[in-house]
Symmetry: C2
Subunit: 348 residues, 2 copies
DNA sequence: TGTTAGCACTCTCATGCATTGAGTGCTAAC
DNA sequence: GTTAGCACTCAATGCATGAGAGTGCTAACA
């Protein structure tokens, strides 16, 4: 299962060359560019072996070789050299997170943008919302006669709001009363715990404002429900257009149509984000026909020991794995810190 | 400047045919498909005239004719038949707005999605935030020891929030006090009015909580500032990939790179949204090199008589203007109603 | 004077064919 | 085990050719 040193060398050369040029690479090129101290003929023999073993393949007889999914896998597992980000890049990331303490959604969106800008690949950021979200706070804000805004805050750190019509007779003071009662009764409850008895209590206490109460409870229910769904943020979707393998519009369409479907994307990432460290899924390892020419490099981020979601980079199977690994690793580390700070209290 | 009936007929035939087939249309085709009662030769003569006048052009000698920007303009201004949406489509729109009263951002996002789904073009929704936004309400929500969430509501109906660190010594009651003071002092003020004297007053009253106050004021400032910016929502960006004129990746890239730049997009729409009714900008009429092969059909939406922004459809110059006009008109009408309801109090 | 048929002309596109060049696999010699 | 040499394969390129679509022009017709 493991290759001898020279074969490894040759495989490495093929992969590195193919990653940068996107052209099949022949024995001559390797002999010339990567000094192995042997002639093209020798390399040809080794390449024939590598092909037989399934690490490389030939698009057609008279072309050079290109790495197979299996070849990339071997590279990622055994040959790839650890890379670090440059100081400037690290600074870019840190700055982006430091500028202002943002809400969760904004942080994740920014993470996606940053990831794609640094790497020129397409970035996916995904939140899993592990476990149940709890109700934290509600606020009924009087806006004008006949209208108020309901604001609900959940303990996952997100805010939901909605504007509702109210009877003209209701004033700011009434709204405060309702807010107070709801906050007192529902504080810290998850969806499941908001049982009928509890609701009855509230309705009893606020019998007069049944209409408003309905609307407010609606929003609370929706807010807690939405939180348990996965959410996906994309960044730099158009970057894939720069990859030569996507110069044909049909391929672009297939991939984009997939990216539009959040659920499918979530499926691809969901089994990995709880694993420690950076993972790659290469070509057909991804159980999705439409991504068979792509790879994903991804890792989970967490806060307070709890996995929260994952970030990933999507590129052609020919992508620069070493760099992708470095970036994803650095970003998850920092994202985890930021999330920790946002959700679980200060960190420094 | 105006054409005789037969020339109009021929121009109309060319445009209609080209819109559906995307192929240059020749004299024979017109004679066969659109019964004008004259021979191809006659049509050829007329076409030569139309070409001289600049309404149509020839990609190359032995091809048929295609409409020029000027031709489309004539069509839109003089020949286009008013269209209506089908009952199902109208229902789709209404349902989408009725399902739930949402916040402004959500409504606009949904509008974009809907527009693109109905038409298969790319949709742009743009908010101008005319005039000054005023502060409406602030709320400091205690989250955990050392952390609270600041929620700011503006009178434009949007909510901004941020999580901040606070001294451990601060409890929920302190936060309520601060909220109360801020609400009392700042209610209904626009950014300009929040002058130094006012701020001094507040700081005097809440001298102890200087740190929190700083953070809260920061958010208020940001919220009011953001509101005055334009915002752009896109829908169905990938729809352009279905247009045959975008089967070449370079063109897609140029257009997408433009769509990514909100500012440029805003410039294209900004001079139109205050005008009554639906407007088209065809090809080179758009003062942007990168959109010379595209057209935009757009109209403004408003609430309480105030123009708020615009919605538009982007397609190739060969787009189906009649349909685009119908959809944009219907959507603006409905969007205006919804916005009216959201921002200015109930409408029905 | 406007309309039409006929015809030569132009240009694109698809097809076929020969050429070139990159790259291989095999064999025999080192 | 390594290498040089050579025949072979195949994609890509360039070129010629023919078909097809469409035009513009001319001359005849109503």
């Amino acid at each position: 299962m493991t290759l001898d040193a020279r074969k490894e060398h040759i495989l490495l050369a093929i992969i590195q060359d193919y990653i940068t040029t996107a052209e099949p690479v022949g024995s001559r090129t390797i002999a010339r560019k990567y000094k192995l101290g042997v002639s093209p003929a020798t390399i040809r023999n080794e390449m024939a072996d590598l092909e037989e073993m399934g690490y490389i393949e030939q698009p057609h007889t008279s072309a050079g070789r290109i790495p197979s999914d299996r070849g990339y896998r071997y590279y990622v597992d055994n040959l790839m050299k650890r890379q670090e980000l440059s100081k400037e890049e690290e600074k870019l990331v840190l700055d982006s997170y430091l500028t202002k303490v943002q809400d969760v959604g904004q942080v994740l969106r920014r993470t996606g943008q940053l990831l794609s800008r640094i790497t020129n690949y397409t970035a996916v950021v995904f939140t899993a919302h592990y476990g149940k979200t709890k109700f934290k706070h509600i606020n009924l804000v009087y806006m004008s006669s006949g209208q108020c805004m309901v604001v609900v805050v959940t303990d996952a750190g997100s805010v939901h709001y909605r504007i509702i019509d109210i009877p003209e007779s209701i004033g700011p003071a009434d709204l405060e009363t309702i807010s107070a009662v709801l906050n007192r009764k529902l504080q810290g409850q998850s969806m499941e715990n908001i049982k009928l008895t509890l609701i009855k209590e509230i309705y009893f206490e606020l019998a007069k404002q049944k209409h408003i109460l309905n609307m407010a409870m609606d929003l609370i229910r929706d807010s807690l429900a939405v939180e348990t769904e996965e959410k996906i943020y994309l960044g730099g979707v158009f970057n894939i257009l720069n990859q030569p393998e996507f110069h044909n519009v049909e391929k672009v369409k297939t991939l984009l149509s997939l990216l539009e479907q959040e659920q499918e994307l979530a499926n691809i990432m969901v089994d990995v984000f709880q694993v420690e460290g950076v993972t790659a899924r290469i070509g057909e390892e991804i159980t999705n026909e439409r991504m068979k020419d792509c790879s994903v490099v991804m890792a989970g981020y967490r806060a307070g020991g709890k996995p929260l979601g994952g970030i990933g980079l999507i590129g052609p199977t020919r992508m620069d794995y070493a760099r992708a690994f470095a970036v994803v690793e650095y970003m998850t580390k920092n994202l985890s810190l930021v999330m920790e700070r946002l959700l679980c209290g200060r960190n420094r």
